[in-house]
């Protein structure tokens, strides 16, 4: 029996984000909110572990009230329970402040063996929450997992680094962050989607996890976002016209002039 906590983040579908050329702002209106990709892999892995060893899966998400949708998806995939951490006072949290809330929440759950999360979130790509949470909870961390095997309280994780693959051993309880390669997340069946509404979902505020004002949101952050601007890339934007042969000739000549092609 393994009690697993899976961290689930709801993000805007980043591929659908666009910059409005006149207002120079990112257009978020009408962009769907989805479960961050690697978090789906984390859920899938938790479900596979449960199928093999038995146990319970609790999906936790911190976010606005709409993040309940992400948890519903987690429940439909196979999580047993869900906890939504939502409070207006959480707004403006950096990775440290997010990890503080998650740490308080998992401490409240107490009885867990394993925390699984995505190695990064699709919108921020900060890679921070997992290691920060592990440090706060004094847990060993296994990052970039491509395989997880449990034998009793022993855990063996295969990890993917730039130039090598590692097999690492440790003990439960611990935190594992996964990459997309680890598995193919299942699509919930219609039955499972319908059944998911009957599964328990708790909603916790800052008070429920006993955090004080100074630990929350902007006040509780160590990092400060000074400003953000839409990203721009200035390029020549020369379209080489003509028949294929002519266009290719123009291209090779231009690249030689740029000094990036020999000949």
């Amino acid at each position: 029996m393994v009690n697993i906590i899976v961290l689930v983040k709801q993000v805007l579908q980043t591929a659908d984000l666009k910059i409005d050329k006149t207002s120079k702002a990112v257009v978020t209106q009408g962009v769907p909110r989805v479960v961050s990709e690697t978090d789906k892999n984390a859920l899938e892995e938790a479900i596979r572990i449960k199928e093999k060893h038995g146990g319970k899966i609790t999906a936790i998400s911190m976010g606005p009230p709409e993040a309940k949708e992400a948890l519903r998806e987690a429940l439909a995939m196979g999580a047993d329970e869900a906890v939504l951490l939502t409070d207006p006072r959480f707004e403006g949290s950096d990775s440290h402040a997010v990890a503080s809330v998650l740490a308080a929440a998992v401490t409240k759950i107490i009885d867990y063996d394993l925390i699984i999360c995505g190695a990064y979130s699709e919108d921020m790509f900060a890679f921070q929450v997992g290691p920060r949470l592990a440090e706060m909870c004094n847990l060993p961390q296994f990052t970039y997992a491509t395989k997880i095997n449990l034998e009793g309280t022993k855990i063996i994780v295969e990890r993917d680094l730039e130039n090598e693959r590692q097999i690492v051993e440790g003990k439960l309880p611990c935190l594992v962050s996964v990459v997309r390669e680890i598995n193919e997340p299942r699509l919930p069946t219609l039955m499972a989607i319908m059944a998911s509404s009957k599964k328990p979902t708790s909603i916790w505020s800052a008070d429920d996890v006993r955090l004080s004002e100074s630990e929350l949101g902007y006040n509780g952050s160590l990092d400060e976002l000074l400003r953000s601007a839409v990203s721009s890339g200035e390029r020549k934007r020369i379209i080489l016209e003509g028949k294929a042969k002519d266009a290719v000739f123009k291209l090779t000549r231009a690249l030689q002039q740029e000094g990036v092609l020999k000949g």
Binding site: A15, I19, S95, H96, E169, S228, L240
Partner: protein
């Protein structure tokens, strides 16, 4: 109160990456009038860091630091940082660096900005302005850290290596921080076989996306890459969804960030995700049959046309040039 030293520290387990951090660190420490300090685990690398511009090297020669491991390196660096109170720590954003930095930052109760795209001192030289790209590449955020040390992880290739100066002198400080036994044990490691040139090291990259319709057609791109002497890269769906190429060859915000002299995008629509990975290329060329493809907005040269027609002609043309 004693005056703050405001030293800039650098760490990467990859020496070539550490030299790049020394390059940037040198500029920052000069502006601050402070020391540039590297962290080393062998005296040979300590000497090398000094030749690459470090004013000081903190050398910790400890058996538990032989192989990078997040527990032991967090123990060592956190104790040293608490003792010496550096202004900032620049960490190479390898996967090791990316799991170390937030854990170290949390132990030191300080901020951390990962995968920066720019680091500069503010006008009053009070803090570091650290930029990073978010929201699928659409936003550039500027962060500061409210506490010290300010920690940033720096992708490979962002900064030029410091110049090697064999006569540069520096001080080696031998330290013995307390390092606990790690909570995890490395059982096995296997090097990855990477065919040809790695995209992160390549000066020319030929990259393809969904415009290549079948896996077998990749040969067309590979032939061209060979003719032009470049590495083969791809967009995210090719590696993550179709898995035609390993993740090491996928270029984009969440994959490799590259800075070649010449980047050729074949049949890549140019989602901002991808653009973010190639923005530091010198010249960008794209071939796409859709004249409205966003990639053309981010290219220096574009050809609107069928990849399956253009690429073979281009391959021939490049081969001819090489012959002459």
């Amino acid at each position: 109160m004693a005056q703050e030293k405001r030293d800039i520290w650098v760490f990467s387990e990859q020496p070539q990456h550490a030299f790049e951090l020394l390059g940037k660190g040198n500029a920052l420490s000069e502006e601050l009038g402070s020391d540039l300090v590297a962290f080393a685990t062998t005296s040979a690398s300590a000497d090398e860091y000094i030749r690459h511009g470090a004013d000081k090297v903190i050398l910790v020669n400890h058996p538990l630091l032989g192989e990078f491991q997040v527990d032991t390196y967090t123990d060592a660096l956190s104790e040293l940082a608490n003792e010496h109170k550096p202004e900032a720590i620049l960490i190479g954003a390898t996967r090791n660096g990316l799991e170390l930095a937030p854990r170290l930052a949390e132990r030191l109760k300080t901020g951390c900005v990962t995968e920066v795209t720019r680091i500069e001192l503010d006008a009053d030289k009070k803090f570091l302005l650290m930029d990073r790209v978010t929201m699928g590449g659409n936003l550039v955020e500027t962060h500061i850290s409210r506490s010290k040390p300010q920690i940033a992880t720096v992708p490979k290739g962002l900064f030029a290596q410091s110049t090697l100066n064999p006569s540069h002198k520096g001080q080696v400080i031998v330290a013995e921080p307390t390092i606990k036994s790690p909570t995890t044990k490395l059982l096995e490691k296997k090097s990855k076989e990477i065919k040809g040139v790695k995209v992160s090291d390549a000066t020319i990259i030929v990259s393809f996306g969904r415009g290549v319709r079948k896996k077998e057609d990749m040969i067309m791109v590979e032939d061209f890459a060979k003719a032009v002497g470049g590495a083969v890269g791809c967009s995210r769906p090719i590696a993550e969804d179709l898995r035609w190429l390993p993740e090491e060859q996928y270029i984009g915000l969440s994959g490799q960030k590259v800075n070649p002299k010449l980047y050729l995008a074949c049949g890549i629509s140019g989602q901002i995700q991808h653009i973010t990975g190639i923005r530091n290329s010198k010249v960008i060329v794209s071939i796409n049959n859709d004249p409205k493809a966003p990639i053309f907005e981010f290219s220096d040269y574009g050809i609107v046309g069928d990849l399956y027609v253009i690429l073979p002609i281009l391959t021939d043309a490049v081969r001819q040039l090489a012959k002459n």
